[in-house]
Structure formats: structure tokens, C-alpha cells
Symmetry: C2
Amino acid sequence: MNESDTNLRDRLVDAGVALLAAEGPQALTLREIARRTGVSHGAPRRYFPTHLELLSAIAGRGFADLAGRAHCALGRETGGPRAQVAALARTYLEFALDGPGMYELMFRHDLLESGWLGLRDTSLPLFSLLAGLIGDAVPGADARRVAGALWANLHGVAQLWRWRSLQLATGDEDFGPLLDTVLAAHLGPEAGR
Amino acid sequence: MNESDTNLRDRLVDAGVALLAAEGPQALTLREIARRTGVSHGAPRRYFPTHLELLSAIAGRGFADLAGRAHCALGRETGGPRAQVAALARTYLEFALDGPGMYELMFRHDLLESGWLGLRDTSLPLFSLLAGLIGDAVPGADARRVAGALWANLHGVAQLWRWRSLQLATGDEDFGPLLDTVLAAHLGPEAGR
DNA sequence: ATCGCCGGTAGACACTGTCTACGGACGGAT
DNA sequence: ATCCGTCCGTAGACAGTGTCTACCGGCGAT
């Protein structure tokens, strides 16, 4: 009945997620995950033929979490499309800056199996959603291209902020003002307040 | 007289740069670099006490290369400040998309020694330069914040483009139109043609 | 009761980064 | 000329990693 003691597969991913949050991606050793799960180092091979597939499954949790947070934020935001884009952007940044490890792992393509589906399957719908909102928010622009530029901008801010490079360069301590600058750049000056 | 046969230090970095360009960052093994240099695996330790310091030295070549390209592009561009920012941005993207490995290594902070100076010492001057140009190009804006936003945007485009995520999302095959979108977003619609 | 398979164990292998002991060449002082 | 110390690179050990393979115990189906 209780499936948590069977399903070694899920237990491995659970242990990996916990280890990732606690010590970062470089701690995600196959053998350490097995150790924390209480099985031998050869056991994971039964479910994840290679280390990269286990890491990909762990990253999959992150993508699911991100998608969940995004939809939750969208449901909570009752303003216009511009406000929804802003909520989405803030959610994205908060997710990236939340734990020390998950976001890093999710975009370490050398650690994920090539052509990893989780990214495409949760990023593309989110991207289409963003593009649709942008199409509503700024009717004149090429929505897909603006959405791509904004997505890249958020990704870059997330990464550079994690490294404290942007804090050093701009002197800010909170990413709020920078995020406002980014949104204003891509969506035009704030209109729908 | 010839210093290339002495200076094992430089020979190691040379071999590392070549290996990086040929096979990517995950091939930058301490032992493989030593092998390609023709010395034993313990030899690098004399000059680079740890693996990360050797990788940092290799990345340093990349930062120097980037700075050189940037100044070269700036010297070639005779237009106004906006055209110079555009030239800088294009140079940055071309550098990032050029080799398969160097850009990746340069921003893999887990592979570089913490507080790595090369990044700060070549990024910050370049950033200040960018901020100055932006201050001239768009007099009204907070130059540092706009420069930070643009830098992050370029970084994000570089990364997502490398992963082909942006091609997938926008349908583009060349990053030119997207770059124009990005520049227009941060600098305002093209004026100084 | 017996057989086969599923799921996990245990050991081997090649490889990595780091550490330590060794060796040999070179230069300067006596 | 001899000795000594200081570089600079070698070689081996060690713990740890991912992958592969042989093994084995228990369980269900025949």
C-alpha cells in the first residue's frame, strides 16, 4: 500500500533532491545518492542506466516545481497581461535564487542526457504562455522574439545574480529594481498599473 | 632564448586551451593536459597547486581574448555610442558562440577558483565601458542598471542560443534579429542609424 | 516442488585529483 | 674540484568516482 518503501526509483530521486538542496550539484554522486538511500552503489543502475539519467530525473523535479510555481503565481495574479508577465518573471527569478543547487543543475546541459525532454516539455509550454501574454501586453511587437529576449534576460539575470556579478556591477542588493528595468525594457514603460 | 620549451606553465595552459577548443570543458583533465604536454601527471602541481587554478589560468586566456576582441571591435566602429554598444554586443555573442568550450568554462564558477580575479579584472572594466557608452546613448536612463540588464540579456542569449533553446522557441536560425530586438529593448528604438 | 526472473549485492576496472617520497641537474660557496 | 642546497619533474600511493559483470536470494507462476 505504502509505495515509498518499494519504488527505489523514487527514493533515489528523493535523496538526490535533498542532497542537491543541501550541498549543491557537485555532491550529486551516484554512490553518495545510493549511500543516502541505503542501497549499494550498483542498485541505481537498475532504474537509471547511467548517472546522467538519474541527474535528469532529479532535474525533472525542478522543472515540475517551476511549472507549478508559475501556474500558481499566474492564478494569484488578477491584473492585466503585463502584471501577469511581471509575476511570471518574479517567480522565475525567485525560483532560480531559491535553492543553491536545483536551478544550476537544471541548466547544466552537460549533466543532463542530451535532448533531455523535461526541459522541452515544461519550458516550451511556459514559453508559449509567456509569448501569448506578451502578445496581449504589447500588441505591436513580434511576441515570440520579445518573449525570447525576455526569457534570455531573466535567465541571464538569474545566473549573474547568483554569482553576485550583477550586485557588484550595479551596486544593488535586491533584484527588484533591476527586474523593473528589465520588464520596462521589453514591455515598454509601465502603463497598466 | 626560446622560452616555449622552458616555462612549463605556459605550455600547460596552451595545451589546455587547445584541448578545450577540441573537446570541451569536461575533457580538461589534469592528467590529460599533462599527457598532452608530455610531462608526468604530477608536474602541473608545481605551478598550479590545484586543478581549479589550472582551469582558471586557461579561462584567463579566454577573458584576455574577449577583452582584446572587444577593444578591437570598438576601435573599428566609428559610429555613435549606440553603434558602439551594438558592436560590443555582437562581439560578445560571436565570442560566446565561437568555440564550443571556452565561454562555457569562463562562466562555470564551480570550475574556477572562488573569487577568481580574471573575471572581475576584465569584466568590470568592460562593464564600466559599456555603462559609459550607454550613458551617452540613452541620456535619460540609469546607465549602470541598463548596462546590467543588457549584459545579463546578452549572457542569457548566448547561453540559450548555445543550447539551441532560443532557436527552438523563436524559430530563428541567425541571432541577428533577436540581437536587434534586445538592443532596441534596452536602448530604445533605433535612432542613430 | 521447481524453475525463472526480478532486484539488489559485491567486486573489479579504468580513471580522476591530491599527496608524498625520491632523483637528478644546476649554480654558488668553500 | 667538491660539496651542498634548491629547483623541477618523476613515480607511486591513496581515496573516490562511474560503469560493467558475476552472483544470489526471494518471490510468483507453472
